[in-house]
Symmetry: C2
Subunit: 401 residues, 2 copies
Amino acid sequence: MKAVGIIVEYNPFHNGHLYHLEETKKQTGADCIIAVMSGNFLQRGEPALVSKWARTKMALSAGVDIVIELPYAFAVQSAEQFASGAVTLLHSLFCEEICFGSENGNITAFIDAAKTFLEQKQQHDSYVQEALQEGVSYPRANAEAWKRLNATNLDLSKPNNVLGLAYVKAILQKQIPITPRTIRRIASDYHDKTFSHPSIASATSLRKALKGSLAHLETIAPYIPGTTKQTLEQYYDTYGMFHEWEAYFPFLKYRIMTAEEAELRQIAGVDEGIEHRLKQEIVAAPTFSAFMNSIKTKRYTWTRLQRICTHILTNFTKDQRKKTETPTYIRLLGMSSNGRRYLQHVKKHLPLPLVTKVSNLKHDPIYQQEKKASFAYAAIFPEPARTNVLKEEYATPPLLQ
Amino acid sequence: MKAVGIIVEYNPFHNGHLYHLEETKKQTGADCIIAVMSGNFLQRGEPALVSKWARTKMALSAGVDIVIELPYAFAVQSAEQFASGAVTLLHSLFCEEICFGSENGNITAFIDAAKTFLEQKQQHDSYVQEALQEGVSYPRANAEAWKRLNATNLDLSKPNNVLGLAYVKAILQKQIPITPRTIRRIASDYHDKTFSHPSIASATSLRKALKGSLAHLETIAPYIPGTTKQTLEQYYDTYGMFHEWEAYFPFLKYRIMTAEEAELRQIAGVDEGIEHRLKQEIVAAPTFSAFMNSIKTKRYTWTRLQRICTHILTNFTKDQRKKTETPTYIRLLGMSSNGRRYLQHVKKHLPLPLVTKVSNLKHDPIYQQEKKASFAYAAIFPEPARTNVLKEEYATPPLLQ
């Protein structure tokens, strides 16, 4: 059986994801599609609209065979660490290929760029350092450095190109025997906030349109599969909300206000004295977006600051980050009957434990952080949802499709 | 001018407090009554029903001349540290006497007991240690030890006797030139939860009867002055609530769930491995009272556990406690015109700075903790109250009556 891996967040699952999934099957001839998916918090440093379980359900309904969790320690990270965790996990399940969506769509461009990067890493890094010194943001510095190396046709101002390059770099750097492929994303930039295609729109634009409530579900219905719509409805009916940063702001503010600066400095990503700024600006900030706007500088991108806020919210420390640099387990979130057959086939040979009961992970530092993140995710609920959601995290067996 | 000190929490101010205040004036012939009052969190480890400002107003309306704050670092502590901070502050304002309410009512009993304690401290402590080893709670061990020393007529199972003894011990130990007096509390035990007198009831029973809402204000009206009633009404109208532990539980639970055990161990009062118990029992606890009941043991009294929870909520660390053992400033919360005259008279001679603007205290470790406690106190409000209450803490000048 040929397994092909995809790296996803599905926040929420939409027609663009469906297109990518079906094209992946068609182009690779895969017998089994394995998705490694961020959990309750996402790469850009924000809570997922709905829980990992709801998003797993969307994925399985759409035809993914196996969904495993990309642990918080890799998911809420820069592209490099995100990619490294994801590719390692897909390899541990013996994926022969990975297939990612990108704005570029040409795998040769990614492979060339990755090779150039590995060959000219030092030069690239010194360019970036120089630009950072001048107060340029990292993404711009990175894109500039590539331009100056005159070495890539990739437009690295496009977020999916950046992630794609990170996957290919991880594969080459770690010499992982996985073949990378890419499919061109259609009709929608990641950052698009308006709809320009009759059935495809970015997850960002869908979340914007949803405005955190069911009232606007019909607006986004043309862009999502029916099962996504049902799952969103069910989630909202059960929990009374979709998850957005603003709902977590009381906890973030509480934590920053009562923490010592020295404690904030221990949090992953809190460097270069940003803790002073956080402490100073939080005092009068009434909302998350007001807070973010008050701490933003040219140097710190919105995404980087959101990740810092997420790490503070979930108490992810530098010390923990050091202890969680390589995946130690494969956590199964869900599978189809086809996925189950695949796992039966490979499970005796897996290099990492395949985990269906997280109680077995009690002392694993990667799972320690997952637990903290799961609780932070549930903290905004009134009882009994708060305690029930937490139980779900501990006790839900992998979903079956 | 003769100043006399009283040590209060006024949670809320009631007729028993009024009786104590008026008797104090009568018996001491004081020209000026100075109250040192706990701030937003109280000695028993709980949030005050209404803010320090509202309670200062009640005190001034009832005839107190000067209200100063007993900082968190002394207020939310065992009787010994509470007394030590309070007596030191009253002495720093040149009080000649202090007058406390007690179940016993005879100052000689307190002085004798305090002397005995100082003479036989070692023996007393070894009795207590022995009893603690056997799993007896501290208050019982303490009372037992006194009985075995056969040295006091004070009933130390009564909380106001315990506090009174602590005041007298502090005076003798520090050789502070203040004369202690006591007035017998009438009609109501501190712990009484029902009403047995037509106009006097304990603060505990009043809070119980109030049930956190205005609806029951008329029930307690016979037991409180009209100005207390008005102030409670105003507070509720402005902020929509009275403060109770349950409202803070989401923040306490969030903090315990996301903190590492090693972090909890740094909190004042978290000793002897109680952090394991806290981490274990918090997971399924839906409410504060359920949590408290699940962590209670014979050894840990309810009050001690509540103080631990308050220290976790406000992030009061062992390290901070070490840095805050002696008062460093006198914070004025309010004064009458008579109080103002007194302060004019003494202010050039004060041994500690008299503070009316807390912005001057930025780097004072005692005030650092006050700030954290003030924010934790405000954390439960929706905006704009949350930010406004915080501004109040920083910007309110002393109230004038």
